[in-house]
Every structure is written in structure tokens, then in C-alpha cells.
Symmetry: C2
Amino acid sequence: MPAQRPRPGGRPTVRTVAEAAGVSVASVSRVLNGLTTNEETIRRVREAVAKVGYVQDSAARSLKTRQTGQVAFAMADIGNAAYLAMVRAIQPILREAGYRLLLHSTDADIADEIEVLRSLNQRYVDGLIICPLRVTERHVEELEQAATPVVVIGQLPAGCPVDNVRIDSRPGVARAIAHLVDGGRRQIALINGPVDTVPGRSRYLGYLDGLRAAGKEERRELVAFTDFSVEGGAKAAQEILDVAEPDAILAANDILAVGALQTLRQRNLKVPDDVAVVGMDDTELAATAWPPLTSISLRAYERGQLAARLLLKRLADPDRAPEWVTVEPQLVVRASSAAVTTP
Amino acid sequence: MPAQRPRPGGRPTVRTVAEAAGVSVASVSRVLNGLTTNEETIRRVREAVAKVGYVQDSAARSLKTRQTGQVAFAMADIGNAAYLAMVRAIQPILREAGYRLLLHSTDADIADEIEVLRSLNQRYVDGLIICPLRVTERHVEELEQAATPVVVIGQLPAGCPVDNVRIDSRPGVARAIAHLVDGGRRQIALINGPVDTVPGRSRYLGYLDGLRAAGKEERRELVAFTDFSVEGGAKAAQEILDVAEPDAILAANDILAVGALQTLRQRNLKVPDDVAVVGMDDTELAATAWPPLTSISLRAYERGQLAARLLLKRLADPDRAPEWVTVEPQLVVRASSAAVTTP
DNA sequence: GCCAATCCCGTAATCGATTACAGCTGCGTC
DNA sequence: GACGCAGCTGTAATCGATTACGGGATTGGC
């Protein structure tokens, strides 16, 4: 007399359902996965499922099917509006496709990013979207032998066989400079974020491009850099205003731009009359600031969408060739950069 | 000759490691989980693990141990700054404790919230933190028979045996009214969010409390409500200003307050000289707005922290009595509500 | 009436880990 | 020398699902 039923009070399994329906576990599984056609069986299984309150165990299912129904998104810090926009874009798309979203905040720690890639072969997700600050050789190495599909948002070395969504802020910044010059601005300052990152460098190069295109030279006293915070932006603006008289300030970030606005207000400089201000990322902050901020949109939302769609395509067809998508930055003009009124 | 090794190229399992180390699978598992003490065995297993590049399969592990190492957080919309603050608080605490964070955005859909609770018995997470807009009977029902520990952030009916972190905006709003009255304000308007929610109702009641305490009557034309958006706030402020002359506006949200600021600016009303403005949630927006917004903090970050800690306590000891924690709102005073200067 | 084809269904193997249980070894003690 | 005990270790059962395979029943064609 084998103990078929360990404890009748236990959680219902596929076996419980099978007994209640008077069929085999195989039939139950088939009905659950839509693989059989006999109406009568389907009905009985359905009823039994409802009666015993059965719900599939996801661990057991994952073990057998090798799929988890989960996708992870890894970025430096969800507090950053750009990453937040990506999450907002990614979440509904994955959800629509039946995936759950798992979040990794790496705190801008490279070792952490590598660890995330590495942990993929625990197979706790079916895919990953990652937005690294910098892509090191270690990254590439891990990317190439990742256990599950990965989509990278960011610049990837050429030839890296991984789906990729990229944007280069450089032309965006250059265009913003052109816009300022067109508006009659002559002394354009740059408040950059950390420079030892790929985006930081791009912004700086874009600034130089813009100046060159306008036939201007870089003046060291017009360039500052700081960390991404309102205070950082305010302080950097002070430093610049202490030694120069810019009539425009380009900030690497809307947060920095808001900081600059505060400093300008303190010094009784009118925006945009005395000084134009341009931010970057086109976040909610840009729209709600006063005056509303002109901002270089890096299309975070769109990049998130594209990345999510790329990942879904890859999951549907793992053998397709890696796809690289490039997104163009976009200058969103608002009041803070209106042209100087000719006297 | 049994096919012990299905395909030598396959992913390494505990069996692969056992062979490489010349021990049994049990020993491998013991070393991996720190259950044996023999130095020699430990060394050999460690080496074998490194050699074959073994990583535990999380599905298999979960199936056996009944634990997933995952926790979910469910809220209406991660775009809302209050929820974002919670995520930022929750994430590092869970991570520190070795849990991964899974995100559910329910889009303020009650059915979706119920579905999240229901899906818990797929056992894809070890616990859940949920922040429902409203708690219906269905919620309570599902909460009571949830398959895993749940912590609720929000108002819960008395006697519901679930860990809970709560805040009541009502006294916070009343205090803000008192602050405005102290500052010499006489006509205080309210721009509320959706009223058919628990928080919406609390805010309204707090408003009435505040008026009563100041010996004032409610005037219908000073109260508007709208959805949470800058435009909503701007429009609501217009409606009020069209029919009345408030010298203070209390908004249910920093976003709404920013909208009100825009309307006031358009009408050439000075803040705080002509009209004081108070927001709620004390988000980044309040600090960066101009003038900086006085705001009623609902301590979202702290609530997130508390909820995460409660969940960890519960996971460590499932039999402890449910704990209810109440957080007090806090008035953060900034320039937008400075006292009227006596002429 | 017989054989083949079709359609369902049940048995049992399997995914990759954990762990109860029993067996082995070596040592100390009486 | 026998026995007990401690400390490891290996075998095999187990978690809860999916699915390959083969067996029955039904039907149709000749």
C-alpha cells in the first residue's frame, strides 16, 4: 500500500488534479498547455483545477521547460530619470508578452555589472537588458558567453555579436550649440558630468564640434564638470560665472541645468534674456522648470522600447543575426534658450 | 552500458562537478551549501566547480528548497515619484539580504492587483510588498490566503492579519492649513486628486479639519479636483481663480502644485506674496521648482524602507505576529508658503 | 471480417538540485 | 579484541512539472 497521497491537506499538484478529474497527470498537463483536443477531458480537468484550486508551480515548470517567464533590466540607478524612462518603456512591452520584469540597480559599479552578466547562467531569467556606463573587455567577454540573450543599451565595440540600441549625444550637443549660436549667443559654457565615462566624453566632443562649426575656440574657463546633482550644477555655474561672462550654459543633464538656473536667479541674471540655458535628457524636470528648459532629448523612452522589442525578437528566434539600432538625439526647444532680442 | 554522460558538451550540473572532483553529488551539494567540514573534500569540489565552470540552476534549486530568492513590489505606476522613492528604498535593503527585486506595475487596475496576489501561489517569489490604491474585500480575502508573506503599504481594515505600513495624510494636510493660516492666509483653496480613493478622501478630510480648527467654513468654489498631471493642476487652478481669489493653494501632489505655479505665473500673481502654494509628497520637483515648494512629505522613502524590513523579518520568522507601523506626515517648509508681509 | 490509420490516453523518464538514511572508516576505551 | 562513537560519504528518493513512447479504442476501406 504505497503512500500515494502524502498529506491530503498539502498544496494541490498536477497529481491532485489528475485524481480529482479521474485522468492521468499527462492529460492534466496537456490540457494546461493546450495540447489535447478531447472536449470531455478538457472540461473535466478544468473543473478539477477549479475545484482543488490548482496553480502551476513556476519552479517545477521552469526546471522542465527551461524558461522562466522573467526578464531583467540592469542599470546604474533607477533614481536617474533616464533609466526610469527606460523602465517605463520596457515594463509594459514585456508584460504584454507575458514576461515579468526584474530590476537590478548596480550603483554604477562595474564589478556589479559583470556579476549580473555572470549570474545569468543561474538561468533565473530568459533574457537581460543592460545599460552599462562603460563597456570594458570583461563586459564583452561575458556578453559573448552569456547563457541567455542580452540586449545592450549603449555603445558597444564594433563586432560584438550582441543586440544593441545606441545613441550618440555628440551630434545632439553640437546641434544645441548651433541653435544657441543661431540665437545670437557668443560665450557658451559647458557644465559636464563625470568625464571618465563614454557619454561624458561624447558630450565634450560634441561641444568642441559645435564650437568649431561656429568658428569658435574652446575657452577653458567656460568648461566645468561635476556630479549629477542640483547642488553640483549650482556650484559649477558659480565657478564659471566667477571668472567669465557666458551668455549661454549647456548642461549635461536637466538636473545640472536646474542647478544652474538657481545660481543665475541668485545673481539676478535673467533667463533667457541674459543667459540661455540648455539641459539634457528632456525629463519631466525640463518641462516643469521655470523658465521651461530647452533640452537635448536622448530618447531614453524610445531606447527602452526598442531594446525590449529587440529582446522579444531574439527570444522568439535565438538564431537571428544580432541587430544594432541607432537612435538620433533630438533638440527640444523651450523658453530657456530663446534668441537674444536685438536691441 | 548506461549513458551516464548524455552530452559531454552540455551545461555542467552537480553531477559533472561530482565526476570531476571524484566525489558524489551529495558531497558537492554539501560543499556548495556549507554543510560539511572536511577540508580536502571542500578543496576538491571548489576546484572542480571552477574547472568545469559550474553555476547552480536556480529553477532546480527553488523546486527543492521552496525558495526563490526573489521578492516582488507591486504598485500602480513607477512613474509616480512616490512609488519610485519606495523602489529606491526597497531595492538596496532586499539586495543586501540577498533577494532580487521584481516589479509589478498595475496601472491602478484593481483586477490587476488581485491578480498579483493570486499569482503568488505560483511561488515565483518568496514575498510581496504591495501598495494598493484601495483595499477591497477581494483584496482582504486574497491577502488572508496568500501563499507567501505580504506587506501592505496603505490603509488596511482593522483585524486584517497582515504586516502593514501606513500613513494618514489627513493630519498632515490639517497641519499645512494651520501653517498657512499662521502665515496670514485667509482664502485657502484645495486642488485634490481623484477623490474615490482612500488617500483622496483623507486629504479632503484633512482640509476640512484644518479649516474647522481655524474657525473657517468650507467654500465650494475653493475646491477642485483633477487627475495627477501638470496640466490638470494648471487647469484646476484656473477654474478656481476664475471664480474666487484665494491667497493660498494646497495641492494634493507636487505635480499639481507645479501646474498651479504655472497658472499663477501666467496671471501675474506672485508666489508667495500674492498666493502661497503647498504641494504634497515632497518629491525632487518640490525642491527644484521656483519658488521652492513647501510640501507635505508622506515619507514614501521611509515607508519603503519599513516595508522591506518588515518583509525580511517575516521571511526570517513566518510565525511572528503581524506588525502595523504608522508613519507621520511631515511638513517641509520652503519659500512658496512664506508668511504674508504685513503692509 | 480484417488491417490500417487516427486519436487519446497513461506510464515512466526526465529536468537539476537537496537531503534522509545507511554504510564506512578510524579511533579510543574497557 | 570487541564495541561505541564521531565524522564523512554515497545511494537513492524527492520536489512538481513536461513529454517520449507505446498501447487501446474507434473508425474506415477493402
